[in-house]
Subunit: 204 residues, 2 copies
Amino acid sequence: MAKTNKNHDTEGQILSAAENIFQKKGMDGARMQEIADEAGINKAMLHYYYRSKQLLFEAVFTNAFSLLAPQLNKILNDDSSIEDKVKNFTHNYISFISKHPYLPNFIIQELNRNPKFFEKIQRNAAFPTLEKFKNQVNQEVEKGILKPINGEQLFINIISLNIFPFVATPLIKGFLKIENKAFKKMMEERKVSVSEFIINSIKK
Amino acid sequence: MAKTNKNHDTEGQILSAAENIFQKKGMDGARMQEIADEAGINKAMLHYYYRSKQLLFEAVFTNAFSLLAPQLNKILNDDSSIEDKVKNFTHNYISFISKHPYLPNFIIQELNRNPKFFEKIQRNAAFPTLEKFKNQVNQEVEKGILKPINGEQLFINIISLNIFPFVATPLIKGFLKIENKAFKKMMEERKVSVSEFIINSIKK
DNA sequence: TTATGGTTTAACTATTTGGTTAACAAAGAT
DNA sequence: ATCTTTGTTAACCAAATAGTTAAACCATAA
């Protein structure tokens, strides 16, 4: 029995508006009324479909995380060499985030506010694991392809170089005294320069 | 005329309590009453000394920024080689942040919430500039000490590698499945491994 | 001693905000 | 047609919260 009655995907419109507002303002800064206005829908409907601010927020959060996890999973668990993984991830990730610039900061901020959220997400099927990546790094080090390096530290370095500029955008714009256009150009350059920077460092 | 009357540094106690609360919860998440409780001081005093939540927040924010700016200035404007700068900055910065773990996230978060804050801070005397650093990178590239690299991108890489793990601590703990103790150990290792990682990449 | 002026407190206010409710609308089932 | 279920709305409520106020407090100077 399909969800009929009137209802032009009200539930979806609410979620979409909630994504906009929550990702820009966070749980504490967001207002239910503002989300309702953004959706052009009566505020009571937010509670009708999602019960509470907390639950609506969690829907947005797990949704956001589900967008990012596959990106990571791909680099961590396919069969290409570390070098190719670094190249692909750097290129793909920066492309992806350029389209969703609020995403990384949103996730990091809300995870800081309530670290217990991680448990809820971890039950997600697509949750990334590091085992394969670590083993692969060790193997390539043994084979003499890579200089000796700890897989976990390399992982931290890769995500730091790729994610940080999008988390700290206003800070970087301020230090470099650049505006949006120049910033985007620099991020475009980073699709290549970051992987070069990493490969230069680890390849024997 | 010294500030006499009773007043056991009430103003300072308020600021200190406000730092704790604002840095953990942000402007939106913090409550004036909670700051008053943390300081053990009547809430009206917060307004007596700082007028409004906004102004108290700004006092905390500029204070926090003034702690970080000199660290950056040092690396950017002393006369040592790029290699030494990277080594010193990495070591000193990670040591410093380990003692103030909420600081980077606080600044980044609030700068995202209100990018205009940067203007207020920029008038600060100790505000870091990149000119000298960029020139120095160019010179060392010309001399053949460093591989060709853009100074601004190198700067982004350095601060990304150093700051990101402290901004995204819960995320990294989650991915690596580690707790506080192991995390601290990894950050301790990074005092050396990050500068090695960078030097390996850029040195000819 | 007492007048002065900065400091402190408890009680209060106005507004914001998450959440509820009761009445109403509309679509499908009977 | 009308009954039932689901969706929608405006008005409302209670709690939270930034900010105010008037009275009390207390150290100092005259």
